[in-house]
Every structure is written in C-alpha cells, then in structure tokens.
Symmetry: D2
Subunit: 321 residues, 4 copies
C-alpha cells in the first residue's frame, strides 16, 4: 500500500547551542551557534535528508525559537503540519554543549516547562498516523504528563492501525523522576513496539538493572510484540537480533571525533533509511554506524546529518581495507 509517509517521528524538537570556541570549559566559551536538536527531530531531519518521506508529531512554543525549529525542519523536507504550537507559554528546550575534548563532552540542559512535554493526547491525530508506514517513538516523550499519555495514545493507535512502531529508547536522565518510573514506561512501550533501538545502558534502564545481558533482554522482549532489537555497545559496535533467531553484528567505523553528540540520532536515521529501502539488516547496521561516524566528526547534530552518498563513500572506503 502506498502511504504518504515512510516515517513519522514523535517527540521533542529543541534548540542546541553549540560552543563556537571549544576544547575548553563552557565558562570560557563566549559564543554559541544555534541548531535544531532533540533526538526525534534529528532522526526526522536525518531521514528526510536521506530521502525518506517524513512527518513529525510534537509541540513547539509560540516564540522565535519555536518558529526557527519549524522553518528549519520544513526546509529539511519534514512535514510539520502536526507540530502543534503551544498556547500556554511553554519554552523550547535548550542544550548548551560543552566540548572539553573529543572524549569529554557535557550538556547543560534547559528542560523546565518545555513545550514538547506538554503535547496532549487529544492532539494526536489518528488520521495523520494512518498515513505513515511507521512511527518512531522517543523514550523521552514518556518522561512526563501529558506528553506521556499522548505517546501512549499514539502507541495504541499505531497498534490498532497496523503501523510499525520503532522505539528509540533515547534515555535522558534529567527529565525522569525515578528509575522505577522509567523502567515501567520503557517496558510498557517496548513490549508493544516492533523495532527497539538503544544502547546497552538504555536497555539496563528499561530493566531497572545494571550490566544486563543481551540474551536475557531479547528473550524477555521477544515474548511480546518486538521482531527486531538493536543493542548498541559504543566503539565495540552494535547487534541486531530478530525474533526468528538471527543475530547481526555491526562494527563501528573509524572517524576523527570532534564531539560525541548526535551519534545515536544519526545512527537511527540511517538505519531506518536502509531498512525502509530494503537493504537488509546487515547493511542497515553499516549505514547506522557510518552515519554516526560522520556526525561525530562535525560541529552539529542536525545540520551535519549525511547524505546517502556520504554514508556509502565511508562504508566503501573502510570496508575495502
């Protein structure tokens, strides 16, 4: 069946303020560059840049930052018709990035009263969801009410209408109250998703445990809806497991790291692009890793999202050696 969108992403779209003068403490950074940020926004932008047809469900403030986000995403090719403009004075989330060195990066977050977490269940449009093959849920959208309930409603409607759910765990500690709470909602949504993507640490949050084992994680999740589970282990590469029992391993590509931000989002965008393009899981793992390698070598997350040609060039170059 032909649908209007390959992917609709749901969750936050924010502003990154990246240190112009880096390799120093942020106290000494006097200038910041503005970019669109937020995991689901980055995934949407990255997917659109790769050629997928992409929509977005989220909430942005009625201010200059909100309008910047909407303009930028529209220009990147993302349908913004379901980005609700907040009418209650909420703000755009901000992430000031500090790049002390390629290995030491930190983020100073402004996430108080942010518009994205005020998305309401009644603002989820079933007809919009029906126009997409898949729905990408960001775990952070579950962190607070009413965004939590809006997300649970979108999951229910996606299941009801046979839309594939991709759950990007995207765990950010600053918006959650307790580990128990995180584990409860992560488990609920993971069990109802078709594809789950996250780092090993994020799966540990879902299980409210430490040093979890992949085989235990997949055994538990495959009792429910999931058919494909991706677990990322940083520089050691990533694993994809299927319900049928296949395991794929993807290696990490070499790159000159500028900062670590944006790796996960670019990975997800390229992985989903490859899957949607019928390239198979093994190739999708390569696309994800290559895309992440490109983004961490650049200053931004969203603006740096690579094209398919760039990704393929990197894979070709490093795989031949």
């Amino acid at each position: 069946m032909q649908k209007k969108y390959d992917v609709i992403a749901l969750g936050r779209a924010c502003v990154d303020l990246n240190a112009v003068e880096y390799n120093r403490p942020m106290e000494e950074t006097m200038t910041f560059s503005k970019y669109v940020g937020g995991s689901p926004a980055n995934i949407a932008i990255g997917s659109a840049k790769l050629g997928l047809k992409v929509g977005f469900i989220g909430k942005i403030p009625d201010d200059q930052h909100g309008r910047f986000i909407e303009h930028y995403m529209a220009k990147a090719g993302v349908d913004t018709s379901n980005m609700i403009v907040d009418q209650e004075g909420h703000k755009t989330g901000l992430a000031f990035t500090e790049i002390l060195s390629p290995e030491e990066c930190s983020i100073l977050m402004y996430r108080e009263q942010v518009a994205d977490l005020y998305l309401r269940p009644d603002e989820i449009d079933e007809d919009y969801l029906k126009e997409s093959h898949s729905l990408v849920i960001s775990g952070t959208a579950l962190a607070q009410s009413p965004s939590r309930e809006a997300t649970l409603k979108a999951v229910t409607l996606a299941r009801k209408n046979g839309i594939k759910i991709v759950f990007e765990l995207d765990y950010r500690p600053y918006t959650w109250q307790t580990k128990d709470e995180t584990a409860i909602y992560y488990s609920l949504v993971a069990q109802q998703s078709d594809i789950v993507i996250g780092t090993r640490d994020e799966y540990d949050m879902m299980e409210n445990s430490e040093n979890g084992a992949n085989d235990v994680t997949i055994a538990q999740l495959f009792k429910h809806q999931p058919e494909l589970i991706v677990i990322k282990h940083g520089v050691e590469g990533s694993y994809a497991y299927t319900k049928e029992g296949d395991t794929y391993r993807g290696k990490a590509y070499k790159t000159k790291v500028l900062k670590t931000f944006g790796a996960g989002d670019s990975y997800a965008a390229a992985f989903l692009y490859a899957l949607n393009s019928g390239k198979g899981i093994e190739t999708a793992l390569k696309y994800g890793s290559a895309s992440a390698a490109i983004v961490v070598s650049k200053h931004s997350s969203s603006e740096a999202m690579p094209t398919a040609l760039e990704i393929e060039a990197l894979i070709a170059e490093q795989d031949q050696n």
Copy 2:
C-alpha cells in the same frame, strides 16, 4: 498450588463519615459516624468476611485515621502487613455522605494529598504478590503518580508470576485530570487483566465514548488478556461474558434502599468469593447482586458487608418466588 491468599486487593483505604441524621441536606446533619471506606478496602473486608484469605497493598497516613483503618481491617481478617505507613504527611481520604433520599445520595470528598495515591513502585513487594492467587486492582489507583506507576508495576509483576488480575474499574471522577488520560490507563490495564468488572458507564470511560455497546466492548477486550468480563447495568441487572463466547445474565434483587453507596464493592466481594469457591459464573452473579442488595439497605459500606449465610438466605427467598 496452595497459596497464602486467595485475593490481594490494591488501592485506597479511606474513612467514610456517614450522616447520622439523614433524609435531609448535609448542611443540616450535625453528627457523622465513622467507617472504613474506599472500594478496594471494602472489597477486601467483604471478601474476608465471606471467608476468603485476603491481603492488601496500600498506603495509610501516620495519624489517628490511618491507625483506625489498619486496626479495623486487621480485625476483619485482612492481612495488613503490606499497608505502608506514609511518612510524608499525607492524609486519609474522607467521604462525607449525604443521603437526601434513597434515590438522591451524594458524597463530599476530601481527596487532596491523600496517602493512598502516594504508594510508590518500590513499595510493591513481588514476594507478597506471589503468595496470592489473584490481585484486585482498583481503577482509582491509576489516577495519579506515583500510585499509578505502583499499580502498573503490580500489574506487570502479576502477569510475570501468573497471578490472575481482577480489574474493578471503580471510576471516580474527582481524582482524574482528563477523560483521555482515564481512557489510556484504563485500556492499558484492562487489556492485561484476566477479569474486568464495571458498570456500563465505567466501560464508556475506558473507551472515551458514550452509550457504548457491550458486544463492541467485549470484542475489543477479548483480543487481549481478559477471559471474563462483567458489565453492570444497575437495576436492570448485570452481564458476564466469557472469552469462549458464553453470556450470563444476573438479575438485581429487591431491597429496601437506604442509600446507593457500597453497592459495587459488595457486589465485587461476593462475586469473587463465589468464583473462588468454585460456584460458577451464574451463581457468582447471584451472589454479587444479593450482596449489593443487602449493603444498600444498611447505613455503612464496610461494616454492612454480609456473610455467606445472609447472601444465600436472600437468594433463596427471592429466587423461589
């Protein structure tokens, strides 16, 4: 397998303050009698009185009302080892009942900062749950965090350990923010429960609709976990539907109504008692209706819970005619 408890109920245990002088506006009532109240507490008390082995999971304040509740329930035969004593100054919920006439009853609720809604996920003890054949969940426990997450955690643990979940919808408008929110959490839990009990109006809340039809409701729920669904239609009686396709109808028994409070709780207690005693669904419907008929003819909800002999006497008396 022999277990310590037939039923563990989870949710609120409160205080009812019932008008001593009734058939008048509460403004003119000058004296109030104190009883234990709250749907799951009433169900626990009623079940224990009927002979079931009953436990309770909830939170009570560290004050005179909290201690009264704990003493009363213990004396009624309910295990109170998992009634957590709140340490943060929360209060016992209060329900002042106004009995204008048998048909016109209203309740003035005090539900601000009530201890029962502060039950936390980390206070749910998996080992305690494992000792029971079934877990009765009250819908009101889902109304606010952290009780909501504690309840979702109990549901997950019950499923994991093969404990039957009985979901008493028990919808009380005053603790919920929006209809959307109610529908989302009611659906989530109903889909994971084995038995669902509620009035037609309560199922409408779960479906965020009006004038819903029983066949639509059961068709939707039987796609998931439920195997037995009870839908009550007031004086018109109640229906029980099984996943196998059987339908049972229970009639309402005649009684001299003093007030309408407590009908649902006494119904649930007797219905569960009959089921647990292997009396079959048809008899369980009779037990529920007879128990409700007895309680609405008396001044309290908890104190008035009937014995099996009283229930059987009423059934025998009215069924022979």
Copy 3:
C-alpha cells in the same frame, strides 16, 4: 462617627468535628459532632453573641460544609455579605479534635487546598472595610498566597482609612513553610497594627526566637504603630501593655476543663467586646479570661461562646472570693 460594624474579622471559617465519645484516642471515637470553627470565625461569632456589630471577610467552598458555615454565622448575627463563595473546587478546612484528657488534646487537621487560603487581593472591598471601626486579622491568613496578599492589602487599606487593626497572632504550624517566613510576615503586620494579641509562644514565632521576654517584645513593637499589646501566659494569666507605659495583669479564672480548644478565640472575642464597650483594659482582661474559662469547659468552640451575663456572673463569683 457611627459605623455599620464594630468589628470585621478576616480569615478562615472552617468546620470542627469534635469527638462525641471522648477521653480516649480518636481511633476509638466512632461519632463526630459538627461545629463552625477557625479562629477568626469563632471571634466573629463570639463578638456577635456578646452584642457587637460584626462583619466577616473570607472564602468558603461551594459545597455543603461551606453553606453550613455561612448559615450558622448569619444566624449568629455575623454579616456574611463578604464571605466569597469559591468557584475553583477548594475545600472547607476540617479539624478533628481528639480529647484524650483535659490536659491532652490534639487536632487532626485537613488544610490541603482550603478555600480560606484562596481569598484574593481583588476580593477585598475597600468600601466594606470603611464601614467598620476595626479589622481583626488572623495570623493564619498570612500563611499562603493569595490569602497572604489579600490580607496585606486589607492591612494597607485599613491603615489608609484610619481603621484600627487588631492582629490576633493565631499561629498554626501546619500551614507555614518555615519559621523565617512566619517571622517576616508576622513582624510586617504586627508593626502596622494598633492592637496585637497572642500567647508568649506566638510572639516568639514573630521574633523567630525562643523564650523571648515581654519587655523586649513591647520595646520593639512600640517603635511602630501598636498602642496596645496583649501577651498571654496560659494559666499564669495575661499582660496588657500600652504605648504610654502602663501594664495590666489579668489572672486566669478557675474552671472545669473539658478540652483546651477555643480558649484563645473566646478570650479575644470578650476582650474586644469589653474594649469596644468602653470598659477599660483592666476589665477587658477579666472578660477575656472569664470567656476562655467558660469555653474550655464545654464541648465546642463556636457554639459555646458565652453571653455577657455568663461572663459577668463568672467574674462576680470568682472575684468576690
């Protein structure tokens, strides 16, 4: 100048639920009697009963308890035209009294989201204030916004219009956040009042100190507006100090104590009645003590407020010995 009211009291009007079965823990009390309560309401009722022309500024809920309060106070002779009916679902404060013995009394308070603390500055009517000779402020009205600001506005308007301000410290710990906060607002209002009445402990709260001395307290307050300061020392009697330097001591009258509640309110009502009737400070101290002695021997606070004849009888009886 002839004015419509001798006194307008500002603050809370609540419901007391007094144990019918007493001299036991409240856990064992099964019946409660309902009375109007709250310090300024009691003072208003007591003053009206003694013959003063009395008005009231406060906020009551739109429910059965709110209507009971309004009816009761109106019947007692208090003008209730400025008792605003809350439209936002707030509640009547409740005080369950526990009388273990005449010496051991405690109160279980329900003060969450109470209507009286939601009185707003824009609900203070300057024209109403102008119709009174004096304004009685209860310290508890300063505990939370917006009642705090409404009270500060009433103080400013009273000062502007030459209305005497009587500040009844009426300190209740459960509504205040910190001692610092209490001291700041108590000092602000005491410095702008004409008459200040409180126990030694309450003046200590105002000074954020312990074991304060009366001479220090009055030296500090007489630098500002106050002209008459009453400091109560329980069974040791009370002192009245004037700005001109006079000191009066009032003794406590003997009585058969049933409970300690209501002593301060009945004291203030009778003290103000005597002052307003031109009986002089010495006699006013006697009236206050005698009124308190009567109320602590009875079951309620408001209903038990004595008449002038009863007060005078007690004084005559005990002073002749």
Copy 4:
C-alpha cells in the same frame, strides 16, 4: 563611619545571549554572544567599574553559567562572597535578545526555576549587610518565594541597622502572577526605602493604576520613609524629587541607539556613583542619563558599562552646545 562597601546589590545575576547578527528576527540569528545580565548584577558591575566598593547578595546555579557569572563579577571588582551556590538544580536565567531595529527590541526570557528566585531568608547575612552604606533592592527579587521573603528580610535588617535602602523598581512582567500582587509588594518595600528609582510605568505598577501623576506618587511615598524619588520618562528625561520639596529635571543625552536594553541599569549605576561621590542630585541625573546613552549604543549591558571618564566626556560634549 568607614565601611567595607558603598553599595550591596541584591537580586538576580543572569546570562544575556545577545544576537550577533542583528537587525533581523531572532529566527534568523544563528550566533549568540554571552554576557552577564540581570538588573542588579549590571548595577553592581557598573558601580564597581565607576569605582564604588560593591558587594552582591544572590544565588547562582552550580553549573557552567553560574561559574561564568561569578568569575565575571569578581573580575569586575564585585565582592562575590555572598553569592550563594544553589544546591537544588536550579538554573541561570537566560535572556535571548532580539534586535529588529534600534526601536524594536524584544527579549525571549528563560526564567523557569531560576536560581536567583530561590534565595532563602536564612541565607541573608546581617553581618554582611552591616558592612555597607546602602542596599540596592531589585523589584524582581520580590516576584516569588522564597526570594521574596529573603528580600523582605534584607529590607528589615537594613532598616534596623540604619543602612540606606535604594529600591530599583525593575519591573519584569514575566515573573509576576498578578498586578495586585506586584502592587502590594512594591508598595510595602517602597514605603520602607530611602531612595526609589523607576520609570513612570513602573510607578504605575506599584500603584496598580494607569497614567499616574508624579505629584500624587511622591505625595503618597513621602508620607513614609523615602527621601529621594527618581521617576524616569524615557527620552523626555527624568525627575528627582526630595522630601524637602526640591525637584530636579535631567535631560536625555543624544546617542546612536543600537538597542534599548541596559539603559535603566547603567542609569542607576552612574546615578548612585555620583550620589555616593557627593556630586549632588543634579549632577547625578546627568551621570545617569549619560551612562544610559553610552550603553544603548553598544552591544551588551554589563560589558558596556562606561567609566567615569567616558560619562564625563559625553556630558561635557553635549552640555556645551
């Protein structure tokens, strides 16, 4: 008497993020420069730069922005020993400035959960206050608890210790709930201050009125503590009124306006510097206006604070014509 400080300022110290690319909507600004901001911080920095001995009372977050503020102010010569480091995760306030044209400037504020409004009464050090001749209070510090109570406590302690209070009305709508509330606290503090400085609009907020008249304002305030009142009328200049009945008018100096931010703060800094230096009110008005004229022609507020030489040069140049 020789004291350690001429001035201690109390209130917020924040971060300004000023558009690098200006004369355009902020949506199109891609780079921002970071400066210290916030009215009392700017006044402190400006005063220190002019040669006064300056202290500061405030609260900053335990993060990169907080440390930047503290370092910058210390380097500017402000004593930062009483800048409390918040331990509860509050944030630095942010002001993104949009400069559409010299006449059209706006600010996108981040003031949710900002550290400065969490200064507590117990963090006000009386000994520190005693070391200063004067205390500058910013009106915004009154906007929320507990900063409101900390400020009221500082006012009380300053009065008690004979320290002159300078009240900079500094009204910012985004932190206040209602006009009533603003008027109540502004009046309370203005009546207890020695010098009050504000725009005509700000005095209207204090009076909860519109189009107020200066003579009414000063007649009311001179009944209380104030001895000097400055009312600013933008380009029409400013007026200073003394309790003795003198009126001084200061004109506005010509300048090439880049943006309007920072005018009031630089005015206050230079005005206070001139007064403290014994230059008299007439000269102080010139200093205030000249300092404002210089700051509005530059990109920042804090960094642009002029030296005495620059101010005197501007006055000399424009006054000779």
